[in-house]
């Protein structure tokens, strides 16, 4: 949270720099003495984990670009060259490829944490919206990166996704041609995807800076959702308390990361992507990477026409809406209570929401036939119903449990029987 600067330049050099560019002051006030709620749990370590993920992707990506050739006749072979010939090339590529999956795993946990603890609510709406922007940029970057190895899945994923845009009335075909630079996915497409795949991570980095800035104005939310009332009692300095806690979370996360890289590096990929792209033959089933499957399931769930909207356009609208709806979430959830710890009904609906998202993820990887279509339609309906109907209604109808008076109160009463912050006895209202 915004707080008076506590930085004291010690040496003459620090004083000299502080009068000209107070960058050490900014770093000290943001990451050393920053007052942080004392009750953050391990779900809060994913911000730090995500920063590490972004840095890993940028470093390994820069290295891979030194050996990769963005041309349809050479791209596939240059990736095999990286795997077989380049010193440690196999390591760089496997870290980069699995790093994408780890990045999305962490971002989904980060987003569900924000949903559960109401981190998107006033005064953190802009913080949340910047996060959604980062998520959408991540999806665009990951999609274009997946095309670069020019395997069968690369080629057909590019074909299917760029064809989505042709569903837009009037200008759809022109937009698609602009993506392709021709009449189908071909060398111009590969070249521009490579260019943008290199650019977008730096755009993400910029928005991450804004995201951290927007975080440091109101300060962290916390598991109680109660604002900091007394900086002395409710907070601890970021360093060493959360540098150490985040560091431990990052270390555990990297163990999982390394387990994939070293013991099952292709486990999250698709074997068809080790077949070179063939524009004349579509693989028997086209499956996106696991982190896109929930959205792919929503796309395919719209199998019916809605008035003038064809099923194809309807699917595209539903898929993009499922992302864009996150931007207005702060205004859909009307409840004043942030944390679902104190919202018994919301907590139940939230658990069903997580189940629906996982179900969509599973269904996105299965053939869209028979029962699967119906299940995907039910899960899609719940996904939108949760945001558009359940959250707005709960804000009016739900009776939340009594909130703790302060963060310090919640922490100190945690281990006492019949804590004032919950239980059967209603605590005095604020």
């Amino acid at each position: 949270m915004s707080h008076p600067s506590t930085y004291n330049p010690n040496s003459g050099l620090e004083k000299w720099l502080d009068a000209r560019l107070p960058i050490l002051r900014l770093a000290h006030d943001s990451f050393v003495d920053f007052p942080t709620p004392k009750n953050l749990n391990y779900w809060w370590t994913f911000g730090g984990i995500l920063t590490v993920c972004l840095v890993i992707q940028i470093i390994t990506g820069i290295v891979l670009a030194m050996h990769y050739t963005p041309h349809t006749s050479m791209a596939f072979d240059s990736v095999e060259h990286i795997m077989r010939d380049v010193n440690y090339g196999w390591l760089m590529r496997y870290v980069h490829a699995n790093g994408g999956s780890m990045f999305f795993l962490a971002v989904y946990i980060h987003m569900f944490r924000g949903l559960y603890y109401g981190s998107y609510k006033e005064p953190r709406e802009v913080l949340w919206m910047l996060g959604v922007v980062i998520f959408i940029l991540m999806m665009a970057t990951a999609f274009m990166g997946y095309v670069l190895p020019w395997g069968q899945m690369s080629y057909w994923a590019a074909t299917v996704i760029t064809n989505l845009f042709s569903a837009i009335p009037l200008i759809g075909d022109d937009i698609r041609t602009l993506f392709w630079g021709g009449f189908s996915v071909d060398n111009p497409t590969l070249n521009r995807f490579f260019s943008l795949h290199y650019l977008l991570p730096f755009a993400i980095f910029g928005v991450v800076m804004l995201h951290i800035w927007a975080l440091h104005v109101p300060g962290n939310n916390n598991p109680t959702g109660v604002e900091v009332k007394d900086v002395k009692k409710d907070t601890v300095p970021f360093h060493p308390y959360y540098t150490v806690k985040d560091g431990f979370g990052i270390a555990v996360f990297l163990v999982l990361f390394a387990a994939f890289v070293f013991f099952n590096p292709d486990g999250l990929g698709h074997p068809d992507n080790y077949i070179k792209a063939n524009p004349l033959s579509t693989p028997a089933s086209i499956v996106p990477e696991w982190y896109f499957m929930p959205f792919y399931a929503i796309l395919r769930a719209i199998t019916f026409d809605l008035g003038p909207i064809s099923s194809k356009l309807g699917g595209v609208i539903a898929m993009f809406s499922s992302l864009l709806i996150l931007f207005v979430l702060p205004w859909l959830d009307r409840s004043k209570v942030r944390s679902m710890r104190y919202r018994p009904a919301a907590r139940l609906w939230f658990v069903i929401f997580v189940v629906a998202c996982i179900a969509l993820g599973v269904l996105g990887g299965l053939p869209a036939e028979g029962r699967n279509v119906l299940y995907a339609q039910i899960a899609t309906a719940y996904y939108f119903g949760f945001f558009l109907i359940i959250l707005p209604l709960l804000g009016i109808m739900e009776t939340p449990k009594p909130l703790p008076r302060s963060i310090a109160d919640a922490v100190l009463n945690k281990h006492k029987p019949e804590a004032a912050s919950g239980g059967a006895q209603p605590a005095p209202a604020e």
């Binding site: 602009l178 392709w180 189908s184 111009p188 524009p279 004349l280 579509t282 869209a368």
Partner: protein, 192 residues
């Protein structure tokens, strides 16, 4: 009410005129700068030069079909049997999901009866790209799944096309496109 920038009769002053002109010039300049940056992404001359192709179809026996590449996309050329022609011509328009011919050789409002889908009844020539999300339907090579209507079947999301390339069942919205083509002789067809 008049401000210091307006003349008595409400006309813009000399200063306002200069502001408007400067703004319009800057906007035009910005547009002229932006357009090359967008247009460079459109197909270039070397891509457009590959826009037509001649194919010798004399080796395709009755009942067979081939795939050729045209503009980076596959084109299916099927030599239809007499029964297949009869089946296609006997299909009622009411049974079709998309009533439009989708034939670039004809006007846009032509209906999808078999006669509007081909030049010569023996030859069915369509762009082999599913109109749903761009996969290549199966059914051209012998032994492939031809779907429930004996034409083509898209494995990605289960669209069934009939022997005239018309969508009959599944998520695809349109019939397969008929590319612009003409027979230069009995055995050579020029696509594009």
């Amino acid at each position: 009410m008049t401000t210091s920038d307006d003349t008595e009769d409400g006309e813009p002053t000399r200063r306002e005129f200069i502001h408007i002109m400067a703004g319009v010039t800057a906007a035009a300049g910005a547009g002229a700068t932006l357009w090359p940056l967008v247009d460079q992404m459109n197909p270039d001359a070397s891509v457009l030069a590959l826009s037509s192709k001649e194919v010798d179809v004399s080796a395709i026996a009755v009942g067979q079909a081939i795939k050729v590449m045209w503009q980076g996309k596959p084109v299916f050329i099927r030599h239809r049997t007499a029964e297949e022609i009869a089946e296609a011509e006997g299909t009622a328009l009411s049974a079709l999901k998309d009533p439009s011919a989708r034939n670039e050789n004809l006007a846009a409002d032509a209906d999808a009866e078999d006669a509007n889908r081909r030049v010569d009844p023996n030859w069915m020539i369509v762009v082999g790209v599913c109109t749903h999300l761009g996969c290549i339907p199966l059914g051209t090579s012998s032994g492939e799944n031809r779907g429930d209507y004996n034409g083509w079947f898209c494995p990605c999301h289960g669209s069934h096309y009939d022997i005239a390339g018309r969508i009959r069942r599944g998520p695809a919205p349109d019939n397969l496109d008929v590319p612009p083509y003409e027979f230069l002789s009995d055995t050579v067809v020029k696509i594009g």
